[in-house]
Amino acid sequence: MTDGKTRYGYKNAISGFFEFPTDNARRILPSHLEPVEVHHGTSIFAMTAFDFDESMVGSYGEVVMAVIVAPIVKAGERLPKSAMYPYQVAVTSKAARDHAIERWHLPHWMEDVELQFVADKGRLTARVRAGGDPVAELSISDHSWAPVSHLYQSFMKDDKGAFQANILMEGGQSEHEEELGKVVLYDHPFNKDLVISEVYDVPFRELWMKEGRQTFDPLITLQTV
């Protein structure tokens, strides 16, 4: 990648955005990040499942549990659509996990997970299992489709520091707020950061991208107090 960017191709990327208490969001977030609230006292938990078919480490599946946070805005730079703090990432291969930890400092579930996508009449369901047990099941529906090119920010923090990745998401997109989707979160160590009973299980927004490309700019190291 001569331009310093890292590219991943995906068949499907589905996200559900769920209301959950800001108290819970703040327990997850490092102190330098601020949760975006959909209502006063209510923040946004996002679950995303990717079906990558092109990358430096081959094809793999990935599930990302994140809190939506305020983006960093700088004069003269493109405004991101939104920003997130992934606090739990899981993938289906060791190579993908090692790559993401080394390159992006993403916090990972340290075992391979099973990720199954099931399509059914305008609906896509992602089922995640870890160690043979169910972890989460995200189901979303489609709406009108349009090609998009959206900039997102992702923030990471580990023992090496705090980081920011600018990510361009390109592909066909369907986005709506029809409240037709659902998430089932199982009582499993994977979900230990969430008070599951306080996550509203119907997404207020459903986002589906397909046949697209995810492009990471080189990682930025942040100065935090």
Partner: protein, 427 residues
């Protein structure tokens, strides 16, 4: 893999890609950093539809208004479907004369906070008239409806208390909860079962806040079920009757009276800007309640009181509403007429059962063009889009008034239906 159209990083935001919600949150080293991206976006949003907001009106908000087009500067005569003024009272001769007389007597403004020098005899008369109208022992006035919710909720509730709000609550209710610093939770819109789930998790003081009529969908509060749930869990109930006072119930007191639940609801709040087309807010209740609110509603006592001329006009308006119940009858006849005609024409007005009617376009990209074309056909109304309503739930919001004639409403129906048909939104 099919590649999507590419854009250069650093290019300015495009109108369709962003909305107001993108310019609210932004971390960084300078609070000015959001201004540039917003200005760049707004420059494109304005000619693409946002010019339809804040168009200057050059006449009284009667059923016909003279409106200045922000793009061309032209002033046009339009049928008014945008102003509240549900009873057509604000421009009645009695109301205008009362305000004029008050200006002669008191001058321009109250020149003081209501707890210091800003309470005039006309304010006391208006408060007494409202208490009488609502059949409550006492009432207190606020300079705006917004300050009524902010001031009342934060006067009553504290950190550690629980405020449970309908998810579609007006911003003034949410801001009141924020100022109260109470634990705030939202229940799904008009859903008593979800309210119960939320109440089960609350201990201590609990306040449930609902609205009589919801301003974006025009649907009426499921008050009987909500009252039953709230009472069972020991929660107090505040109803904001901004869009229902003077309209609903045998005496026009509001949705609580409509359902025969006046006594079951603990706190009654409303505004003068909707049905009376004026300004200000009020809370009615026991004398103890009003005395307490007078002492602790910061939005009220740190504001100048309502202008005495406005209070005088409102008092005249209240007297008209009490003396002329036929105004309510005419409004409901108009609402029934317009609803029937919209159904006949296949126009979707969602769940509205009130004088607030959303004409659903359900297309965020096209709602501005639809609104522009409807305005070109002679109607004054505004588009409402995300984030004020959910994505793909864009609409044109109509306010029906007793001042409309059937001819007005027929003209409106035909203009709206024809544009929606031409745009392929109505088949």
């Amino acid at each position: 893999m099919e590649a999507a159209p590419k854009k250069e990083a650093g290019s300015k935001p495009t109108f369709a890609e962003y909305d107001y919600s993108n310019f609210y949150y932004g971390a960084g080293d300078d609070p000015m950093n959001l201004l540039g991206p917003f200005a760049s976006w707004y420059e494109e949003a304005l000619p693409n539809g946002y010019y339809l907001y804040s168009e200057p009106v050059h006449s009284a908000p009667t059923s016909r208004v003279r409106v200045q087009d922000r793009k061309t500067g032209e002033v046009r005569d339009l049928l008014n479907l945008a102003s509240y003024n549900y009873l057509g009272v604000s421009y009645r001769d009695e109301v205008k004369q009362a305000a004029i007389d008050a200006v002669h007597k008191y001058g321009l403004g109250a020149s003081g906070s209501p707890i210091l020098s800003g309470t005039f005899d006309i304010h006391q008369e208006l408060a007494a008239a409202m208490a009488s109208f609502k059949d409550k022992p006492a009432a207190i006035l606020f300079p705006t409806g917004y300050s009524a919710n902010v001031g009342f909720i934060s006067a009553l509730m504290r950190a550690g208390d629980n405020i449970i709000l309908d998810q579609y609550s007006h911003a003034s209710i949410v801001d009141g909860a924020i100022l109260a610093k109470s634990k705030t939770t939202f229940f799904r819109h008009n859903n008593p079962m979800d309210l119960e789930r939320k109440l089960l998790k609350c201990t201590g003081k609990k306040l449930v806040v609902v609205e009589g009529v919801y301003s974006m969908d025009g649907d009426v509060c499921a008050l009987p079920e909500i009252v039953e749930v709230a009472k069972r869990h020991g929660a107090r109930i505040l109803i904001d009757e901004a869009h229902s006072t003077f309209l609903f119930g045998p005496n026009g007191r509001g949705v609580a009276e409509h359902f025969g639940l006046d006594a079951e609801v603990d706190f009654h709040l409303g505004t003068f800007s909707k049905s009376l087309g004026g300004q200000g807010g009020f809370v009615c209740g026991s004398k103890d309640l009003i005395d307490y609110v007078n002492a602790f509603a910061r939005s009220r006592f740190f504001s100048c009181n309502l202008a005495p001329s406005v209070a005088a006009g409102l008092l005249a308006g209240v007297k008209i509403v009490e003396a002329e119940p036929q105004l309510r009858a005419k409004l409901w006849s108009n609402v029934a007429y317009l609803r029937r005609r919209f159904v006949e024409e296949g126009v979707d007005i969602g769940k509205s059962t009130s004088q607030v009617m959303p004409v659903l376009v359900n297309n965020d990209a096209r709602v501005f063009a639809v609104a522009e074309r409807i305005q070109e056909r002679g109607l004054f109304l505004q588009p409402v889009t995300y984030p004020a309503v959910p994505k793909h739930k864009s609409r044109l919001r109509i306010s029906v008034s007793a001042a409309h004639s059937e001819e007005d409403l027929e003209f409106a129906t035909r203009a709206i239906a024809s544009v929606l048909r031409e745009e392929g939104i109505v088949k």
